[in-house]
Amino acid sequence: MLPGEAEFSNLRERRYIPPMTPLTTVRIQREGFDASAEAARLTRGRTDIGALVTFTGICRGAEAGEPIEALTLEHYPGMAEAEIERHVAEAVARWPLMGVTVIHRYGRIAPGEDIMMVAAASSHREAAFSAAEFLMDYLKTRAPFWKQVEKAGATGWVEAKAADDSAAERWAKAAGRDAAE
């Protein structure tokens, strides 16, 4: 994002113009990651950040009482990165963020392993909480990833939840645009 670009991204309300380009990272990868090291990277060496919100999605070992052997995530290479980068840019335009990191894994993931993370850094908590939640809600419904679950040797595709769609829609309402677009 260029300096001042945020000013034009939505004319419905006055927008914060970041004093400098926030540090943004988007990675789609097969291998694991260290969520705390990634979060620490956003704040290291600076004193202007007063709030850091991190969310880590972790593979559970059971669902509805049935043990899960593993999850396998399929993704659409190229589009997954582009879609997440679009939403990171939107978050940066909407909130006064100093840093955003999104990492999402694909491939086979065992219970207890991290699947993905979102971190948002800002001077105050409201922007960091809102941006992290906004990114999570959009990741769930718009980032091209599909989970397959292995239970007792059988595999099945995880079904999308209507609750995830309504969680994402509230952000579109707040911005005054069509959620499905």
């Binding site: 659409y76 397959q148 999308a160």
Partner: protein
């Protein structure tokens, strides 16, 4: 018009391949019309597109609705609702 089609998750499994290059017949203008045409290409396609209302689509890696015109698309993808995060 020649377009690369890509399929993901159970759409890919039902059709039995991850991608293919097709010659789209004249008269097919929208993504929804393309789904209808694909569904007529055989049992595996009919199975994949049996409920087109739930199938999501992307043109050149951007989400689109079924009413979207194909235009000069190079790559069109079809997939179930996403379940990442």
């Amino acid at each position: 018009m020649t377009i690369t089609l890509r399929y993901f998750a159970w759409v890919r499994e039902r059709i039995g391949k991850p991608d293919e290059v097709v010659e789209v017949p004249a008269g097919i203008g929208t993504v929804g019309e393309l789904m209808t045409w694909l569904a007529s290409r055989g049992e595996e396609y009919a199975h994949a597109f049996e409920n087109p209302a739930i199938i999501r689509a992307a043109i050149d890696r951007s989400h689109v609705k079924a009413q979207a015109p194909i235009g000069s698309a190079r790559e069109i993808a079809f997939f179930p609702p996403m379940t990442g995060g």
